[in-house]
């Protein structure tokens, strides 16, 4: 197999002429982050091994994710993207038999698998949006305030304020402001997904994990969510799993490519798509396998 050069390509590294790479013909990389060098590391994953029962799903992952940036996880199906994502807010705790045998994850320098870390508190800080939109069978309003209600917020004024702010933040306010008390399930698929995003930002997390948030949406709804991601980036750190190379290229600042549970390459999105260091990465992004 190909050797894994988990290359954190220096941002200043000279690029080869982009026009020559096959990827550059396929993708138009729009984001040209200029202030990247000022980004801090928010999440640090170190020597991370993860098991479902006896089956190892992640092998020795080392990754530093930047604050207030969008990071994309790409890779063929079953390579462990969702697994790693769900490790970042300990959603895997809910599955019986999952184990971490080595390494750990630090958010702002705190080991989230440490003994005195409360997974419930963690999830308030690290929110998640799922592949299939899953609003609760409650009204739109109740969907948004759910996270606050469970934290014991009772004030009607505060809840109303958060509902409006979150829905505006998720670019859904204008569409639903007259029907806040209708069921969340009465919305269209794309609206439901944005409702889920609104519900997540209502608790004001620092990080939003998104697992293929657009895979069930049509191109227009997808475009809206992508636009939204651009907006959200100002406030939140976003980590997005996607199967769409175009989406990764359009939305993310950095991209990590995984293959068979291993991190193959992690770099600035531009580099990954135009000038990948690894042959497998190049094969994947140019659509030759996966």
């Amino acid at each position: 197999m190909v050797t894994t050069t988990s290359s954190r390509t220096p941002l200043s590294s000279p690029m080869e002429t982009p026009a020559d790479t096959p990827a550059s013909r396929t993708f138009k990389v729009s984001s040209v982050p200029s202030e990247d060098d000022r980004a801090d590391t928010l999440i640090e994953i170190k020597d991370f091994d993860f098991y479902y029962g006896t089956k190892q799903a992640l092998f020795d992952i080392n990754l530093k994710l930047d604050d207030k940036r969008v990071t994309a996880f790409i890779g063929p199906s079953g390579c462990g993207k969702s697994t790693l994502l769900r490790c970042l807010n300990r959603m895997n705790d809910l599955i019986d038999g999952t184990r971490i045998t080595r390494g750990g994850v630090k958010v702002r320098g705190v080991d989230i698998y440490g003994r005195d870390v409360d997974s419930i508190e963690l999830r308030k800080r690290v929110g998640m949006v799922f592949q299939k939109s899953n609003p609760f069978p409650k009204s739109i309003y109740e969907n948004i305030v759910y996270g606050l209600r469970i934290q014991g917020v009772k004030s009607k004024a505060r809840l109303d304020e958060v509902v409006e702010k979150s829905l505006r933040g998720a670019a859904l306010w204008d569409e639903v402001k007259d029907r806040l008390h209708e069921s969340g399930l009465s919305l269209s698929g794309g609206q439901q997904q944005r409702l889920c995003i609104a519900r997540t930002i209502a608790v004001e997390p620092e990080v939003i994990l998104m697992d293929e948030p657009c895979s069930a949406l049509d191109p227009i709804a997808t475009a809206k969510v992508e636009e939204l991601i651009h907006e959200l980036k100002k406030q939140f750190t976003i980590i997005i799993v996607t199967h769409s190379m175009q989406q990764a290229a359009r939305c993310s600042d950095k991209t990590a490519f995984f293959y068979m549970g291993k991190l193959i390459e992690y770099a600035d999105t531009r580099t990954i798509f135009m000038n990948p260091a690894n042959a497998q990465t190049e094969a994947y992004v140019s659509g030759r396998f996966g």
Partner: protein, 583 residues
């Protein structure tokens, strides 16, 4: 290229005719495929057909009841029984008032004993215990100690008796008052019993004559004209016969006037109770008596207006069943088929069962589905489901032998006397039956509720966790509401199961046919009751086929049938609504 299955030489075999003929084998004129269709379709429809047959059968057997009941009510009226019952009710009300007096007396005695007799009581208990211990120890105690203990006991008993006597002495005035009060009704009682004899006489002659008529027509049908003619029919002319009863109205009015005067005279001066705090009860008694007397003119007016020939309406026949508060059979006076006591009995037992079974079943379902590990699930689920495999007669036996006994023993504990209805003495009652029925309902509720909870999409739970909810918050705010309609329908089906259960209630409910006394509050739970299922099982074997009693039992069966139908319908409707809202 020709393939090898095709004929090689064109002239060897003539080309097969293209027309595809239908299969030739036929059974009863059906092809094989159609037979299969009929077989499977038939099986599917058996359920529907059976249901239709049952409904039809119940209706056929039951519907004749209302005609027969109407006839029975007609005789009740025309023979004058109804007339007498008006006066009887007056007498019964008086008896109730007398009972009220008696209750006051009991209360007085209890209070006085508590006030003055506490020391004596303690002495008595201690002496009793001492004697018992010494007698039990036998050789260990010298005879002198035993003798002295016995002497102490005798003394204590004497003191106790003296206390009793002194209390009775203080109540002497009250007792004469009570006696005078209860005696005031005697003339009315005498009148009622005289009239009752006349009325039952008319009724029994009428019934005898009806029986002869039946016998006659049977003889005629069998062609035995001679035997038929030998039977002499004596038609009853109700109008003239009943005149003997209604004729007493002036006598009644006179008796009633004296009764009124006697009552008012008696309560004019109330005795003073030795316990001042209970005096208001006696004042209340006076008010009750005055209310009672105020009803007399109304009673007289009703008697005057009463006409034996007023026809009995169908709705009366119907309402005397549906709203009838009495189920009384094989009575010398009049049989009543009122479903209310049975229905209420069933309801009380079912409520007790649900109050116990719903939290148990639903919480167990939540726990097993949401919290328990796989090992616990493997242990608990089959265990709960096994309960439903226990034959209910075995449960009933357990109820009589163990549960009834234990509950009553528990109720005797001083420290538990704060529970309403404790202590009680009837071993078999609604509580015993209800607790056992809860056991029967738990598997139904548990299994269906667990299903409903299991059907809550995983995505809801994950979303809740991802928003920082704890496990408990997720269960309470997301899982249970999402499964609620499923849980409700589980409870409804559990109720249906409980309502229809027969053996346990027959064995353990105490089988007293009366509307339980709801004035007792929650203590209503420890009263014996009878149920709709129980009465059918108990009486069906003893009644004459086709008789009014037989048909009445069928109508009770119909009521049960409709309750079951309704509960199932509701449960299905609720579940369907749930599917729409989530799907």
């Amino acid at each position: 290229m020709p393939s090898d299955v095709q004929p090689v030489s064109p002239d060897a075999v003539p080309a097969k005719p293209f027309a595809v003929r239908k299969a030739r084998t036929r059974f009863f004129g059906l092809t094989f495929d159609e037979c299969i269709r009929v077989f499977f379709g038939g099986n599917a429809f058996v359920a529907v057909i059976v249901l239709a047959l049952i409904t039809f059968f119940l209706f056929r057997e039951g519907s004749a009841f209302f005609g027969q009941n109407r006839e029975s009510l007609r005789v009740y009226r025309q023979a004058g029984l109804e007339y007498i019952d008006i006066i009887r009710q007056q007498e019964a009300d008086h008896t109730a008032l007398t009972r009220y007096l008696f209750a006051i007396r009991m209360k007085v005695v209890a209070t006085l004993r508590e006030e003055r007799g506490a020391v004596i009581q303690a002495d008595l208990e201690a002496a009793k215990n001492a004697v018992q211990q010494l007698a039990g120890a036998e050789g260990g105690a010298t005879s002198t100690t035993l003798v002295s203990a016995r002497a102490r006991l005798a003394e204590a008993q004497k003191a106790d008796a003296a206390l009793g006597a002194s209390i009775n002495g203080e109540l002497a005035v009250f007792d004469t008052f009570a006696e005078r009060y209860s005696d005031t009704v005697l003339p009315v009682r005498g009148l009622v019993s005289d009239l009752g004899e006349i009325a039952t006489g008319i009724k029994s002659r009428y019934i005898e004559n009806e029986d002869y008529k039946v016998a006659r027509s049977q003889f005629i049908q069998a062609g035995k004209q001679g035997e038929a003619d030998a039977i002499q029919l004596r038609e009853i002319d109700f109008k003239t016969e009943v005149a003997a009863i209604t004729g007493i109205l002036p006598a009644y009015q006179q008796i009633n006037g004296e009764f009124t005067a006697a009552l008012q005279e008696t309560v004019r001066e109330l005795p003073v109770l030795p316990v001042a705090s209970l005096q208001p009860r006696l004042d209340r008694f006076k008010v009750l008596t005055q209310d009672y007397v105020a009803m007399f003119p109304g009673i007289e007016a009703r008697l005057k207006a009463w006409d034996p020939l007023t026809p009995v309406t169908w709705s009366k026949s119907f309402s005397s069943f549906i709203f009838g508060r009495e189920w009384l059979t094989a009575s010398f006076w009049q049989d009543w088929y009122g479903v209310v006591p049975l229905f209420v009995g069933s309801l009380v037992i079912s409520l007790i069962a649900l109050i116990i079974a719903v939290p148990l079943g639903v919480c167990a379902a939540i726990y097993i589905n949401q919290v328990a590990g796989p090992r616990e699930q493997k242990l608990v689920k089959p265990a709960i489901e096994f309960i439903s495999a226990i034959p209910s007669v075995v449960l009933g036996f357990f109820g009589i032998a163990v549960l009834g006994q234990t509950l009553r023993a528990l109720s005797q504990f001083e420290s538990l006397s704060w529970i309403p209805g404790f202590p009680y003495s009837e071993r078999l009652n609604a509580l015993t039956a209800g607790v056992l029925l809860a056991l029967i309902a738990v598997p139904t509720i548990f299994t269906l509720a667990e299903d409903a909870i299991n059907n809550v999409p995983r995505a809801f739970k994950e979303a809740s966790f991802a928003l920082g909810a704890s496990r408990l918050q997720t269960i309470v705010r997301i899982v249970v509401p999402a499964a609620l309609s499923g849980i409700v329908s589980a409870v409804l089906l559990g109720l249906g199961r409980v309502m229809g259960e027969t053996m346990v209630v027959l064995l353990c409910a105490g089988n007293r046919i009366a509307i339980p006394d709801f004035t007792a509050g929650l203590a209503v739970a420890v009263q014996p009751v009878h149920t709709m299922t129980g009465i059918i099982a108990q009486e069906m074997g003893e009644v004459a086929r086709g008789g009014i009693h037989y048909r009445a039992l069928f109508v009770v069966g119909l009521v049960l049938f409709f309750i079951a139908l309704l509960l199932n319908y509701l449960a299905q409707k609720i579940v369907r609504k749930y599917r729409i809202s989530v799907g």
